[in-house]
């Protein structure tokens, strides 16, 4: 079928010649059709199958949480001294994954990087779902989750006020701000596309729903101008948040004096690690998405190559941080510090530590230097998966190995995960993928209007519409 312009319903005036970031032969109409087709077309069997698995895991999460609330946090394997374990590991892991979306949409927008256009929408969705998963864990880890609002400074009759020196209180503000700004940013970006879907939808319910959420968008110049200003303002607000959230998360540990937690490199190291795992997740979502929904024209091999390079760069910062931690543990001449490192390397959790080194450093940092590996979708997907596991293990190692043997040997202990720990971990993956499957089915995974803009710019640069640009 020849592409048809959505506005004039005629054959397109021009067809762009292709650039590094979009395959040749696209017009405004073909871009809109291809992306909106995923949403407005029929539900595919593969989608139902994938969603069913995710939904099953989501039910597992519900079971785990129900039992947890019914019995209490004793259902987790936590004890004294290991009072924090899987739940906090999952929290840090998920919130880390939630970093790439905002980095791509806000920071790369400010940097005027064209290649962000086709990956920003689903990366932002990923951010919101990941932060939602993350936000759940501190709540369910509380003995009395129904009292979570005590964390907010409100004038209550008990005269109780949060301890503002505690980084856990900073977390409440950092994470809720981040979630709000990310959600707003995502929604503002969606509005023009929701209007496109409203106009293209045949189904009455879809027309009403997309129409409601597109808030009367008519695509007038005034609308576009306000949209542009709002996007840039939100990008400006969101960029510092990319750094601040994981910095505050790192303060949860560093502000304490536990060996293995109290380390000055944690803020930049956590931010780099967050972007590392975030990009790994973007790669793991982009590769199946482009394959299943035939979006190879928009998410090109060059995109994957660039994401692979960013994975390499942030992975190198993580590697650097491991080296600094290990070196300083021995250089410090502090027996608790050096024992902490020795215990990680040779103690009861040594296998976890060495798996983490293999997953985060040895495998990705060896292979990602190669252009051939970065542009091979299967290899890149596997490496991103390995790094993702590595990043979860990293948080586990930081949290559990530091707590289980601190200063006084008589209070040392051991942590063993219980079925509830695993249910909640895998269940959170179910929640995340349920949300993501719904997103991929109901909303455009790639920004339609920004791709149209890319088509325009590509054609303009090639001189196809030199006159039209004026």
């Amino acid at each position: 079928m020849d592409p048809v312009d959505p506005v004039t319903e005629e054959k397109p005036a021009f067809v762009e010649p292709g650039s590094p970031w979009i395959a040749p032969g696209h017009s405004y109409g073909s871009v809109s059709d291809r992306i909106a087709g995923v949403v407005l077309g029929r539900t595919r069997k593969g989608w139902i199958f994938g969603f069913a698995i995710a939904f099953f895991l989501f039910l597992v999460l519900n079971y785990g949480i129900t039992m947890l609330f019914f019995v209490g946090v004793g259902k987790f394997g936590i004890n004294i001294p290991v009072a924090w374990a899987f739940a906090i590991t999952n929290f840090v892991w998920w919130i880390g994954i939630g970093h790439a979306g905002t980095l791509i949409s806000a920071f790369l927008l400010l940097m005027r990087q064209k290649w962000r256009t086709s990956i920003n929408r689903f990366a932002e969705a990923m951010t919101i779902f990941a932060v939602a998963c993350a936000g759940m864990f501190p709540l369910i880890h509380m003995g009395r989750p129904w009292l979570f609002y005590w964390l907010f400074p409100y004038p209550d009759t008990m005269g109780v006020w949060p301890q503002f020196r505690s980084p856990l209180v900073w977390d409440v503000f950092a994470v809720s701000t981040y979630f709000t700004v990310s959600l707003l940013f995502w929604y503002v970006g969606l509005v023009p596309d929701l209007a496109t879907l409203r106009d293209k939808a045949k189904n009455k319910l879809a027309k009403v729903a997309y129409g409601f959420f597109s808030m009367g968008w008519r695509g007038s110049v005034k609308h576009w101008r306000r949209h542009e200003v709002a996007s840039l303002l939100l990008a400006g607000i969101a960029t510092p948040l990319v750094v601040s959230v994981h910095t505050v998360v790192s303060f949860d540990f560093t502000i304490a004096i536990v060996p293995g937690w109290h380390s000055t490199i944690f803020p930049p190291y956590f931010v780099a690690g967050a972007i590392y795992s975030g990009f790994a997740m973007v790669i793991m979502l982009a590769i199946p998405l482009r394959k299943w929904f035939h979006l190879e024209d928009f998410i090109t091999i060059r995109h994957l190559n660039n994401m692979g390079k960013l994975l390499l760069a942030t992975g190198m910062i993580v590697t650097y941080s491991y080296v600094m931690e290990a070196f300083m543990a021995f250089y410090s001449a502090d027996k608790f510090e050096s024992y902490m490192m020795l215990n990680r390397m040779t103690g009861p959790y040594a296998i976890v530590f060495w798996t983490l080194i293999a997953c985060n450093i040895a495998i990705p940092m060896t292979f990602l230097w190669s252009y051939r590996i970065r542009t091979n979708t299967v290899a890149l997907f596997l490496i991103a998966g390995v790094a993702q596991v590595g990043m979860w293990l990293e948080r586990f190692v930081i949290i559990v190995t530091s707590l289980h043997r601190d200063f006084v040997p008589s209070s040392w202990g051991q942590f063993y995960p219980t079925p509830t720990d695993w249910e909640v971990l895998f269940g959170s993956l179910g929640l995340f993928f349920c949300l993501f499957y719904l997103f991929a089915r109901l909303l455009p995974s790639i920004s339609i209007f920004e791709m149209r803009d890319l088509v325009h710019k590509t054609a303009e640069e090639a001189g196809v519409i030199a006159g039209a640009a004026e």
């Binding site: 004096i257 109290h262 490199i265 944690f266 803020p267 930049p268 600094m324």
Partner: protein
């Protein structure tokens, strides 16, 4: 006029000779101090040497970063950055006095002091004279090799004899930045952090690297301004490029503030006996004023100024901010180093500044001589094909 010849630096107003003269005279004055008070001489000399090495090293880092990301900003900065990196080959010679006089500088290199200090005794696996010297040799070999190849392949590109140069430069810069990150970190531990051998901080290397980068970027912005004052560069360097330099300065300033504040907050909150003395000396008595000046003039003022587009687009304003940052990065290094000897307050010894100016004179003389060897813009770089026509 787009020929190599027209972009050669010719009118330097004998800057090279003047700089060399100042350098030689100041270093000669320092010899007086060497005779009277060798320890003070070495402290001053180390301060000057670490500062100017930092400029050369950070310029090399920025150069490799440019080869990797190839932004437009690098087009006019590339030759000054290459010249600054090349100074490392000569500045190595000026490092020798530090190795010769290290026993005057570092407590851990004096056996009598080590015997009296059980903490240092446990650090001797790293802090010992032979290993220190071996590390210096490794750093210098790696840095000189990097600076050499970064310049050599760039020269070949100018000759047009090697179409592979661009790819080689990029392939070198990836691993080169990794080497750079680790060597500068450990050099920071060796030269500066080990002045107080009890102190340790995992963020220190990163902080030290960024401290250098602020100075390096400020230096190169000032150089770009001076070059833009005369033909032919006045036509090549556009306000939009100064805006890019301003943004880079802003990024490094923010990073510096972020890393410094992170270290401060974590050590303050931990309040542990092996970490906190480092800040106790640096934030009390007279040193508190230096610390406060750093917060205001190394962060707050430049941060607010660099956010303004009317400043970053006007080179005469931007060079003012860059000069402020350049001067403050000298004070920053002084604040990192000098409290190790004078914990009660800054003692501005004359030789500190004479050594700094002396080594600076030598550095500038080498820098200018290197800058003269190649055209001021990489005309044969395929990445920049057509940049001049567009301007």
């Amino acid at each position: 006029m787009n020929s190599d010849q027209s972009f050669m630096l010719e009118q330097t107003g004998n800057a090279q000779r003047k700089a060399l003269g100042v350098g030689v005279v100041c270093l000669a004055l320092c010899v007086i101090e060497l005779v009277i008070h060798p320890t003070q001489f070495l402290r001053s000399y180390l301060f000057g040497e670490v500062f100017w090495l930092g400029i050369g090293l950070s310029c090399m880092g920025i150069l490799m970063l440019h080869h990797l990301v190839s932004g437009r900003w690098g087009f006019v900065l590339r030759r000054p950055l290459e010249a600054a990196a090349k100074t490392l080959c000569w500045m190595a010679i000026f490092f020798i006095p530090i190795i010769v006089g290290m026993h005057h500088l570092y407590i851990w290199s004096r056996p009598a002091d080590v015997a009296a200090d059980p903490v240092i005794q446990q650090k001797t696996f790293y802090l010992n004279t032979p290993f220190f010297i071996a590390r210096q040799i490794v750093y210098w070999v790696l840095w000189i090799l990097l600076a050499y190849f970064l310049n050599r392949w760039s020269t070949r590109q100018d000759g047009g004899s090697d179409p592979e140069s661009q790819r080689r430069l990029r392939n070198l810069s990836g691993p080169g930045l990794v080497i750079y990150g680790f060597t500068v970190t450990f050099a920071g531990f060796d030269w500066v952090m080990s002045l107080e051998p009890h102190f340790f901080s995992t963020i220190y290397g990163m902080m030290f690297t960024v401290t250098e980068a602020v100075g390096g970027m400020a230096f190169i912005t000032i150089v770009a301004y001076l070059l833009s004052q005369q033909e032919p560069m006045s036509e090549v360097i556009q306000p939009s490029q100064f805006h890019d330099f301003g943004n880079l300065l802003l990024v490094f300033t923010l990073l510096w503030a972020y890393l410094s504040f992170s270290q401060y907050l974590i050590i303050w909150s931990g309040n542990l006996q092996n970490e906190i003395p480092w800040y106790v000396s640096r934030t009390n008595r007279q040193w508190a004023w230096v610390a406060l000046a750093l917060v205001i003039f190394h962060f707050a003022v430049p941060f607010l100024l660099l956010l303004q587009r009317f400043i970053t687009f006007r080179k005469q304003y931007l060079v003012g901010v860059a000069s402020l940052l350049f001067i403050m990065s000298i004070f920053d290094l002084f604040w990192l180093m000098a409290p190790a000897y004078n914990p009660k307050g800054p003692q501005f010894h004359w030789s500190d500044w004479v050594a700094l100016v002396g080594l600076g004179g030598i550095f500038v003389a080498i820098f200018v001589s290197q800058l003269k060897t190649k055209p001021l813009v990489p005309l044969h770089d395929p990445t920049f094909a057509g940049v001049l026509q567009h301007e």
